[in-house]
Every structure is written in C-alpha cells, then in structure tokens.
C-alpha cells in the first residue's frame, strides 16, 4: 500500500483547501476486509484491500462516473462514501449546508466541510439528509414487507419531518416526480416491475431533498428499454433539482452517456481519471484501452472493423494483488523489471487528465 502523497493529484488535500465548487472530496480512502481464521475463536490473519488509497473529488452539479469490472472496489467506495462501511483509512470530505441562527434572530444557510468518515453519530445522521443512495437491485433494495408509502416515507420518519398527513402528501408528490401513479402508496413492492421498483428507490432517495446522490449501478439490472427510461429520469431530476451524482457502473456506454467526468478503477485503484470525452476519445491507460475496446457497439460495420484488445487471463485476487502496477500481469505493454516493481502514481497528462501508468500513450479504440 502506498501511503505517500500522490503528487499534484487534484483531490489530494485536506478540507481547508477544498475549492468552493467541490461538493465531495475523497482523500486517500482505504478499505480493507479482514480475512479471519482460527480453530476456536477467529482472529485476523490477513486482509483483502478492496479499495487501496484512492482520491477523487466531485464538483457541485456534475456527474462523476466510477467504472470498473466486478471486484475492482467501486461499490465498496460507494459504501464508504455513504459510511455504510467504515473506511479503514482516509477521509471523505463533504461540503454540507446548514441553517444557523443569525444575530438578528433569523436563519441563514452556511456551508462548511465535514469528514463523513470520522463524523460522530449525530453529525452523520444530519448528513444523511444531504447524501443519499440508489442501489442496484430493484428486488433486494425494497423491503418486501413494507408498502410503497412506508418505503418512501422512511427517511422522513427517521428525520422527524412533518406530520403523518404531510408525509403522505410528500410521498404522493415524489411518486409523481419519478413517474409513478400517486395512487399506489399502499401497494407492496412485489406488485411492481423492475423498472417501477427502481423508480420507487429513486423516490426514496429524493425524499429528504438531498444534494448528493450515490447511484450504485442503478440501471444494470434493468432491461434495455427500461434502462433508458431510468437514465432519462435521472438526468431530468439532476437538471430540475441541481443534484450531484456519483454514478457507479460497469457499463462504459452508460457511463459515457450520463457522466461529466469518469474515473476508471482496477483492483482497488484509480488507473485513469479524465473529462468524459477525453477519456473515451483519447484514453491513455492500457487497461482503459482494453476495457473500451471490449465494449460492443450496436453498429455492425463499426463493430466488425474495430480492433479488439483481448486481455490475457483473469483479474488477480484482491487478497493478493501483484506487486508494482496492479495491471502488469495482464498488460499488453508491461515492461519486466519496471511495471512489476514500481507502482505508477496518478500523473497529470493533460487538462484534468490523470493516468497511473509508466508508459501512457493515447490510443483510439473505435
């Protein structure tokens, strides 16, 4: 694990130098899962580092796409940002807004930066009104024993917002906003299709008027036509309410469609980070090349004329990551003695374009 400062990296730093337009700054985040063994009582014998020292920041109003294959640590990152998992190391700074009493008896909204990762229970609870999450599986993310009203109003109840009547009104409003019939408040999740359930999940996330929503693979379990509906809805909501998204996905074409900037993860590390069009049109990391070239495009002529970069082998186990560059075991351009020894750091290659590779090279893949 590198604990050294990632030089010049945009997000590196504490809360004091966090620019006004940045909403979330993840700073050297590490998440380890212990491997426990023992004959009688289990004790830790090792750790799987799901997220190894990553840093990035999300600007107000933008969508940051976090993309990678299964096991790369993107969902763990989401859960650490939400503090659904306790980060092992690192900070998650969030620029919160709160109402404070002014001297003349009124209130004003002030913003300050707090570390989600170390916030105490009360602060965290208050933060949950501003940070929300939408999950991947529309079947597992709704409590089957609760009505739609119960599910959508839960955040309101937990935060003591309004009376029961007001909450019901709010639920109906939210259902209308996500394109469901407001009449369906007393239905149970099993009565809805996958796409409709995902809309219920979005309504729940919107209930407390959050400013920041983590979208953890929100469309990957849906059929194509439904996927498009939900993506459109998410974009409309962002526009309407000025939301900021952290969009996590494995589907690079979906990420291209919705994100402003994109971070590519491999085995717990960010390997490339860039503006959307830069990343897709001029990717520099060999893993990004392979990933992009592997995504099929629904265009027969283009698809048949493309050159595929086929990676050898499988992703190594995160419990035992290879030394040096984590991609060196599968990298087509890896140099022995360099890539399997030195770990490349994220380095700026252009305006807002950061790459962690010893031999970066622009390559068009379609």
């Amino acid at each position: 694990m590198t604990t050294g400062k990632i030089t010049e990296y945009v997000a590196d730093g504490g809360p004091e130098d966090m620019p006004e337009d940045v909403l979330l700054r993840v700073n050297h985040l590490v998440k380890e899962f212990p491997i426990k063994r023992g004959i009688f009582f289990k004790s830790q014998v090792g750790a799987v580092q799901a997220v190894s020292d990553i840093s990035f920041q999300v600007r107000k109003g933008e969508t940051l796409g976090l993309v990678g294959e299964s096991g790369c640590g993107k969902s763990t990152t989401a859960r650490c940002v939400m503090r659904l998992l306790e980060p092992t190391e690192g900070q998650v700074y969030f620029r919160r807004e709160r109402e404070v009493a002014t001297a003349d008896g009124g209130t004003e909204v002030v913003s300050d930066v707090v570390d989600v990762a170390s916030a105490d229970a009360g602060t965290l609870r208050a933060l949950r009104r501003q940070i929300q999450i939408v999950f991947q599986d529309p079947y597992a993310s709704l409590n089957p024993r609760m009505t739609v009203a119960g599910i959508v109003s839960e955040p309101l109840i937990v935060h003591n917002v309004g009376t029961a009547q007001e909450r019901l009104e709010k639920v109906k409003e939210l259902l209308a906003v996500v394109g469901l019939s407001p009449e369906h408040t007393n239905r149970y999740p099993h009565e809805f299709s996958g796409g409709q359930r995902q809309r219920i999940g979005i309504a729940r996330a919107l209930a407390l008027n959050p400013r920041f929503i983590v979208l953890d693979e929100p469309v990957s379990a849906l059929d194509v036509s439904i996927q498009a509906q939900v993506l459109n809805l998410l974009q409309d909501l962002q526009e309407e309410y000025g939301l900021t998204y952290l969009f996590i996905a494995h589907d690079l074409s979906v990420v291209r469609h919705i994100s402003d900037r994109v971070a590519v993860m491999y085995l717990g590390k960010i390997v490339e980070f860039a503006e959307r069009d830069t990343l897709y049109d001029a990717p520099m990391h060999p893993y990004t090349h392979a990933l992009l070239s592997a995504v099929p495009i629904p265009d027969p002529e283009l698809e048949r004329s493309r050159e595929r970069i086929i990676l050898e082998g499988d992703i190594p186990s995160p419990a035992d990551p290879p030394p040096g560059c984590r991609f060196n075991t599968r990298c087509p351009i890896a140099v022995q003695g360099k890539c399997d020894v030195d770990e490349p750091l994220l380095t700026q290659m252009g305006e807002g374009h950061w790459v962690a590779c010893h031999f970066p090279e622009v390559k068009k893949v379609f």
Binding site: F41, K42, R79, M82, L84, L124, R125, R128, R129, I131, Q132, I133, F135, Q136, D137, Y139, A140, S141, L142, N143, P144, R145, M146, E154, P155, V158, H159, E173, L174, A176, V177, V178, G179, L180, S181, E183, H184, N186, R187, Y188, H190, E191, F192, S193, G194, G195, Q196, G201, R204, L206, A207, L208, N209, Q229, N232, L233, D236, L237, E239, E240
Partner: protein, 332 residues
Amino acid sequence: MSNGASGIDESIDAAEGISAEPVTQWDLFRTRLARHKQARIAAIFLALLFAIVFVAPFVTCAERDAYCGKLLEHPATQLRDPENGLLLVQNPPSTTRPFGTDDIGRDVLSRVIHGGRASLTVGLTTGLLVATVGTIVGALAGYYPGAVDQVLMRIVDVILGLPLLPVAIVFGSLVPQIPVLPAFLKEGAWVIAFLLGILLWGGLARIVRAEFLSLREKEFVEAARAAGSNDRRIIFRHILPNAMSPIIVATTLVVGTAIIIEAALSFLGFGVRPPTPTWGGMSAAGARVATKGFWWEFLASSSALVATVLAVNFMGDGLRDALDPTQTIERK
C-alpha cells in the same frame, strides 16, 4: 420540491401490470394458506381441539375421572353388574361411553379430553419459550457479529450437542424432586414445558441467526441505514418482519416435537404423573391392557395424540408455503 415535473418521463401507464385493488401481504398469505387443503383442515381441527380441551370441561359436567354411571350410584363394593355379573371396568365403547372405560372404570372420552390439556400446554408453552429465547439469542448473534455472536453460538453448540431424550428423561424424573423449586413448577406439564424449552431453543436460534446474517446484508437494510435509521428501527421494522416466516415455521415444528416428547416422557412414567390424565400416560396404561384385548383406551389416546401432532405439522407445512418469500409472484 415542486410538483412541476417538467421534462420528466411520461408517467407510466397507471393501469399497466398493476391490479386495481392493492394486494397486501396478508391477502397473499391468506390465499396461499387457503390453497393448502391439509392446512385448512388442520387449522379447523386445532381450533376445535382447543375449544374442547380448554372450554368443554368448564361448561359440561364431564368430570375428569368420571366413573361409569352405575358405579357412581352404587357403592364401590358392587363392582359387578347385578344382572349378568360382569365386571364394570374395561367396558368397550358404547353409545353412552363412546370410548369405553379404562381398567378402573373411568370414562376414557372425558379423560382424553382432560389429557389434551397437558399436551397443548406443553406444546404451546415450549413453543412460546423457544420462539422468544431463540429469536432473541439468534437476533443478537446475527446482528452483532464478533464476540457476542461467538459466545452465544458456542452455547448453542453445547445445547444442540446434548442428547435430547436421555437428558429429558433425567430432567423429567428428577427436577420435580428438587426441594427448592416452587410448587407450580413441580406440577406435571409446566416443568416439562419449561425443560423442553431449555433443550429446544438452540435450533431456532441458529435459524434466526442465519436469517439475520443474510438480511442485514440486504440492500433494503443498507437503504434504511443510509436514510439514518438506528439499529432498533432496522431490527424491528426491517429485519424481524422478514425473518418471521422461518421463525413461525420452525416454531410449529418445535410445538410438534414438544408434544411428542411430553407424551413419550409420560408414557415412560417420567412426565406428568398419574392420576392426572395425559395422552402419553393413557397410552401406557392402554398398552398394558391392549394385549389382553382391551384396545380402546390405547387407540383413543394415541389417535388423539397423532391427530394433534399431525395437525400441527400440517399447519407448519401450510405456513411454510404461505410465507415463503420465494413464492411471491414475481413479475420479471
């Protein structure tokens, strides 16, 4: 948040795929349970049984040890029928005594009715005890992994490692003789119920723990946590309602087991002591005379026992079908 959802995707056709009337969990449960024919019959049978066993003795004059009518009228010296000189004990079933009389002339039917009390008391009390203790322990172990879980599960391992019947026999025969125990605990059914509760909660605790372990990782629980819910709300609003089906099903199995073990103990003479009637005890008494041709007492008491346990098990099976979440009508 304004209602002006301008640019929002056109609202999904309200009627699409959604029935006019909301279908509640209770509706689903009821229709599925009603579809299970044996469970329906079992439910009716158990309801009737409860009424008869717990209510009938108060509203009718059927006494527990009602003797053959003639015996009541005549002094005990006249045990023979004056007309044909036959013994008045061990009368086979007749219209006045539908289940006959036993070896000292008591009416078997009224004893079967009274004997049901021990079985049902033990079944229900043990079930309740096991459900409570097992759920609490399992929930604690499943929700708080680490030291709490490890210690509780080691205790469960030990409890489940005990040989059930031999230990129950020792308990049943010796616990009522411990001088310091309060009197009500020494009395027949209660002590058995209590002891079986202690011996049987381990299995349920394991089931509940497994449920909690898997449910606490579910996305809807994470969503509740992300909304700011505290542990109490997550346990009672989110996890427990979803863990209820295995708890209920396992509890019905425990009820059946407890009834059988109580009967076995009473049969062996280590359970509820005579003269209090129990189905197990009556089966033992009936078995002794059945090989002499007096089959009715054994048949009556054992049939009552089997029918009751069967009904409980059918209920469990019906509940399993009705509560199984995998049987939810998924629209995919």
